[in-house]
Every structure is written in structure tokens, then in C-alpha cells.
Symmetry: C2
Subunit: 169 residues, 2 copies
């Protein structure tokens, strides 16, 4: 894909695209930001559907299910992310831009698990940071088999629920 192709598709002169985004790398990062903002907006809508004062467990579950391709919008976003990932791996400039970004989802899940501990919903012996990191990794790791059709979406949700049953007994 070239800047010229993107400009043609967008119906703007290539020079104008270059003026707004500068290097091709910034165009890619800009597109990713839009994609992520869309995903966050949809996630926030689904969080709202949990009603007032949802439990830490319900919130952790909602965060993790956003990582599974459970509808077309999530599926599409995750396929695009996979393509970006390969690009990030092979482009040192792009790689640097993510390396220092904080792992926001893990921190969010860890804080929800700590809140669960405060409320007595989950064991004090549990390590919130380590469990959060592994929950997020597990949900992310379920993306490929679900996207490829090797794992049914319902099975992926069940696997997450079994971990939540363990953490919130």
C-alpha cells in the first residue's frame, strides 16, 4: 500500500495527505488510533449495558470479552490489528512507538481484581497483577483460534468464565 493509493481511495490529493500525516508511519499510527477509538467507544457502550454499579467480576468479564471476535466489528478490528502487529514487528520506528505504551488493559483488570479483594469477592492470596496479565494474555491468545474457526466463540467465552469462577469463587 502506498500513500498515493490511500490518497486516491480518500479522494484527496497525495500532497494534502502528506501535509496532514507526514511520513507513511504516522498515517499508519493515525489510522490505528481511529480504529482503537472506535473499539473503545463500542466497549464503553457495552459496559454501560451492565447497569449501575456492576460487580468487579462483571467488569473484568466485559473487558475480556471485548478481546474476543464476538461480532463483525470486533472481528474486523482484530484482523486489522493482526496485520498491524506484523508491521510493528518488522518496522523499528513503529515498534518503538508501542514499546513504551503502558499495558492499559492489564492495569485496568488488575485494579478491578484489587477492588474485588477489597469487597471480599476474591481471595487476598491472589496476585492481581499476575492474574490480570494472564487473563488478558489468555483472551488475546483465544483470538487466533476463534478467528480461524478452530475454536467456537461460545467455547472461548466458557474458558474465560471458568477462570472467573476460580478468581471470584
Amino acid at each position: 500500500m502506498t500513500l498515493r493509493q490511500v490518497a486516491t481511495e480518500a479522494g484527496v490529493p497525495p500532497r494534502q495527505l502528506q501535509y496532514y500525516f507526514g511520513a507513511r508511519e504516522h498515517l499508519l499510527l493515525g489510522a490505528l488510533e481511529i480504529l482503537n477509538a472506535d473499539a473503545e467507544r463500542r466497549a464503553a457502550e457495552r459496559m454501560d449495558e451492565l447497569g449501575a454499579d456492576p460487580s468487579p467480576r462483571a467488569l473484568v468479564r466485559a473487558v475480556l470479552l471485548e478481546l474476543l471476535p464476538l461480532d463483525d466489528a470486533r472481528r474486523e478490528a482484530q484482523v486489522v490489528h493482526a496485520a498491524y502487529f506484523v508491521r510493528f514487528l518488522t518496522d523499528p520506528g513503529l515498534a518503538a512507538s508501542v514499546r513504551d505504551s503502558p499495558p492499559a488493559l492489564e492495569e485496568l483488570v488488575a485494579s478491578l481484581l484489587r477492588h474485588g479483594q477489597d469487597l471480599g469477592h476474591t481471595s487476598d492470596a491472589m496476585n492481581p497483577e499476575a492474574e490480570a496479565a494472564f487473563l488478558v494474555a489468555g483472551a488475546q491468545g483465544l483470538q487466533p483460534p476463534v478467528l480461524l474457526g478452530q475454536c467456537e466463540p461460545a467455547r472461548a467465552v466458557e474458558l474465560i468464565d471458568l477462570q472467573l469462577n476460580r478468581l471470584f469463587p
Copy 2:
């Protein structure tokens, strides 16, 4: 990448490559098989280093650590796999070829967890299939942050060890 480029790189006439592999799709699958066979050989060598009669826990750990980019060979194989994954997602012919392949790693880990139950190393209340699927997903899901430099390899190993501490108390 075209068949012609591959033929030039391999120093064979394009017609000969076509004769051996047929469609471009078969060439890609053939290359993936070679990549996977290499990875399995290296994994088997590391399994041998566990000595005679390793415990189920040691074997599960060894299987999971094969999924982390802990050295150049694993890192390289995982980057190539990520590129294949995007291709699989967007090419229906390739997607069909993986959809029906059994999830061999999950089955291996599940059988090791069942063996752990038989030996009394792990709880009978544990669900070997579900825990195995989530362990494999978690290890796979740790690949991107480690490959991108967001998660230290030692931290990824620690997260897996904490899950193994839980499963093999």
C-alpha cells in the same frame, strides 16, 4: 511475493517449483510445514534435556515455554507465524486447511494435566481440558507483548510459573 521470486531465490526454474508445489497456496503450506517441523525438532531436543521421567508439571512448562520467543529461533518462527496468520485470515483456501486441524498442543497439555491428576500432583476438581486450553492461549497471548518488547521474557515465564504453581500445588 510471487512464485517467480521464490524460484529465483531458490535457484530453480519457476516451472519446476510449480511442478512440485502446484498452486502458490501449497507452496505456502509446504513452507509452513518445514517451519513447524524445525520448531518441533528443537522443542523435542529441549524436552530431552529434562532428563528421564520428567514430571507432568515440568513437561507442561516445557511445552508452554516453546510458545514464548525466548531465543532467536523461536522469535523468528513466531514472527513468520504471525505473518502466516494474517494470510490465513484473508485467504479462504488457507483458512480451510487449518480449521479442521486438531488443536494438538491443547490436547497434549490436557493429557499431561490428566496424568498429573492420576499421580496426585494436581487436584481432581481441576478441569484439564479447560485449563489446558487457557494455558496454551495465555502463552500464545504473551507472544505479542514479548515480541514487541512490552513484556520482559522473564516476566512472561514468571506468569506461566504462577499458573503452574496454582495447578500443581
